[in-house]
């Protein structure tokens, strides 16, 4: 492909991805607690970084031609971003709850405020 098409494609994907990252950074100012921030962070890794990966792959396709290795690398990078960031968000939100980070007072309904039925084992308690 020629230079103009490559530059336009890299521009579309790169600028869209960067704007999503910027929107995610601005959303950090608009929400109030750690859980909402983890929630508002997922567009950055779910959509923004994949767009930047696609921009990098288009550039690679333009500069060094098609090869199966680079296609495999791009696909694995996309899957890793989506799956790995999801697992990382799970871990971080779990530890944020466990370590007692403050939850915004307007979170309603908050089903985590009291322990769910089943956590406190009734049979075990009656033995005490």
């Amino acid at each position: 492909m020629n230079d103009v098409v490559a530059a336009v494609l890299v521009g579309i994907f790169g600028i869209t991805g960067s704007l999503i990252m910027l929107a995610s950074a601005i959303a950090m100012f608009r929400v109030r607690d750690a859980l909402s921030r983890i929630n508002a962070f997922s567009p950055a890794t779910g959509l923004g970084m994949p767009f930047i990966v696609i921009a990098a792959y288009v550039y690679d396709l333009h500069s060094s031609g098609f090869s199966w290795g680079s296609l495999l690398m791009a696909v694995v990078a996309l899957l890793c971003l989506i799956i790995v960031s999801s697992v990382a968000s799970n871990t971080l939100s779990r530890s944020a709850v466990l370590s007692g980070q403050p939850i915004h007072r307007k979170t309603s309904p908050n089903r985590l405020a009291q322990p769910p039925a089943g956590v406190i084992d009734e049979a075990e308690r009656s033995e005490d």
Binding site: L22, A25, L81
Partner: protein, 86 residues
């Protein structure tokens, strides 16, 4: 190619600066952890764009490896938050 790459770098740098301001102004540690994660991914984006600007041939390798090891920083921060507890 240079113009679009410069625009991307400016946008990502704005995201990093906003994130650093947020790290300084926020009170609780969990928010600091997630905002530092955002700063990490924006830095990877800037690195990729610099690689495109200087016509490097290892752009894809950089973003491949960094997306795979990106979980390590988050998991380490979450272990620090709970003070070594799982």
């Amino acid at each position: 190619m240079n113009i679009v790459v410069s625009i991307c770098i400016v946008i990502l740098a704005a995201a990093i600066i906003l994130g650093l301001i947020r790290v300084l102004t926020v009170k609780d540690l969990g928010s600091r952890a997630i905002v530092s994660d955002l700063v990490y991914f924006s830095a990877i984006g800037i690195l990729t764009m610099i690689g495109i600007a200087v016509s490097s041939s290892i752009v894809l390798d950089v973003i491949f490896l960094s997306s795979m090891v990106g979980i390590l920083a988050t998991v380490a921060l979450s272990r620090i938050l709970t003070r070594g507890h799982r």
